[in-house]
Symmetry: D3
Subunit: 139 residues, 6 copies
């Protein structure tokens, strides 16, 4: 299915976990996430994949809903997988303070801190991210 | 004042217009916009200026408030001034469809279309953007 | 008090639990929920009670605030009590994907899944819902 | 394309106008609206088409963004095309007062009043709505 | 009807205009605004009337929806009627910058500037506000 | 640093806890909270400190995001420190029901109940609040 490769190459395991979590609840939702979000949208070529993920982080942090917390974590993982530095992710959150106010950013920074720590732990464990070269829409 | 140079080099005329519009209403607000938004936040170095503007566009489009419409236009201008292509700006909006839904993006695309047309007109008139090289925090 | 019967006949136990939860916090709030929400609004006759609950589910899922999660559960219970099928509830959530984006719906679907499972368990236990015939504004 | 028939049979002219309005701005958006919103979502069978439109009205009114105003009008038109009475539409808006507060409903009621008036004018002019029987996913 | 006196003594003409604007659209809404908002809520005694209006301004500015703009104007009028100074109203808006960000406050300040100008014009014309002593729940 | 005294004299311990919680995550955020929120905004003189806190409570409750919950608690603490009665805080929340709907207020009331209980416990323990007289911008 279109979108499968993009999912694997960006959000990786944490994106697939979200799709899987709807297997028994509403499998149609998992299929739409892959086909529409990853297949129709995220694999469009006009935007650098890392910049795309930083844009997603900006939007999800600005929404600040409880529902945006899990996808915010998924797209922080994806940004790290695609080569964003922790500094770029933190700065992406600081950047929206003027538009969104401090409480939303405070919450998002705590989520970012957790995801970056997990990512760092995995690197040390010898499972380096090798997702930098993307061929995203072949799925 | 810290922030003046960053304002001039990114949002340019349309950012200064916003600051000026509060001259008779609440001049303290204009000062805070320059000192805090541009001086404390936007001139921090960890993020590429064009990527910073695309993040701002993502956040403002995701909020979708009527109040976000004017700053969305300002930061689309800034992204164009900093070398973003119209395709990158449009794609930045498509990118948040999965998080924010279609109505917000429809509205934002119409604003982007207007700002891009105005930018193109200015280029043809012989006033090329020369803001690509930034030394943003000297103000 | 006007609204008591509507509360009992729609949201049933889970609506009464919400009202009771404010007994020691701010009893005036519980009274306003019954008198205004159930007495002034929900017992108005122009809308089929099941359709009214599906509309409530649509609105609460679209808001996506953390505060909307408990009432979303209450009105999913009410829709089930009033004869909505699980498929109608799930489809009511899919229906707002284009307006509200995927994260809000993902969260709401997990809540719906829990409430539907609890409802199914009660049916099997021999306490069938008999709330289908409503005489809602006699309270 | 999948979704074309559903668009025509529900939102009719005012839905097509929205799609057309992106022809010169971002034609890809119009295609996604038809293929995803109408083709993937709105033509799913589990929900009565009129109830689906009343759910859309509930969600869009609850969002209350400026961007939701145009689609709110489109789906009020669709509800009327599918046989909803003006009373049902007005009641659908009253129904969300407890969740969304008065300002959002005040705004939405004024939009509903305009769309219902336009619909009534068309009926008198001899172009009756004959969209009640739907075969929505044949497109 | 309970609430009529509170409406007259706080929001005055601009509140009554809102209620009247629904006379032909949905008269039930106007009645609920008077009976519930003014009769059940705004005439409760535990809060100083001016502080109540400044709280309303804070909440409406923080929402930032297009629908909140008219009530924001109404409650700025009410605050002025109840003796709030223009400086207190402007400061009430500055106060929420940290929570709500700059765009919402920019928008709200422009609305406040208009309402304060109109209020000042009326004072000069010899129709002084004499609403300071309130007996708000006798209606 | 400007803002330190205001932080200590209003939000007291729970405000300082928030600043400290970013020490290892993003220390720059803690500095901006003190310098901008407390130094630039909260120590401006035009608004009575207690009224300022009640306005903050109004705005944060009206936002209803999960991220607003912690600052809502902090500013309820601050209002109590500055002499607001529990009745005034509860009434400040009731006051926004017409604008924000019941779910947001239900959530906020539970938070207020917890903070008021904690504050009462401290008073009984012999550590009375003596923060009533403020000299807020000397820091």
């Amino acid at each position: 299915m279109r979108g499968v490769a993009t999912l694997a190459e960006t959000s990786g395991g944490s994106g697939a976990d979200v799709v899987d979590s709807f297997k028994d609840v509403a499998p149609g939702l998992g299929r739409l996430i892959v086909a529409h979000c990853y297949g129709d949208i995220f694999c469009r070529p006009a935007l650098d994949p890392k910049v795309r993920e930083l844009g997603a982080i900006s939007a999800l942090a600005a929404q600040g809903t409880v529902a945006a917390e899990k996808p915010l974590g998924v797209h922080i993982d994806a940004a790290l997988n695609l080569g964003a530095t922790p500094e770029e992710i933190v700065e992406t959150l600081f950047n929206i303070i003027p538009y969104a106010g401090y409480p939303l950013i405070e919450k998002a920074l705590l989520i970012a801190h957790d995801r970056i720590s997990l990512f760092d732990d995995k690197q040390v464990d010898g499972s380096p991210s090798d997702h930098r070269t993307l061929d995203m829409c072949s799925g």
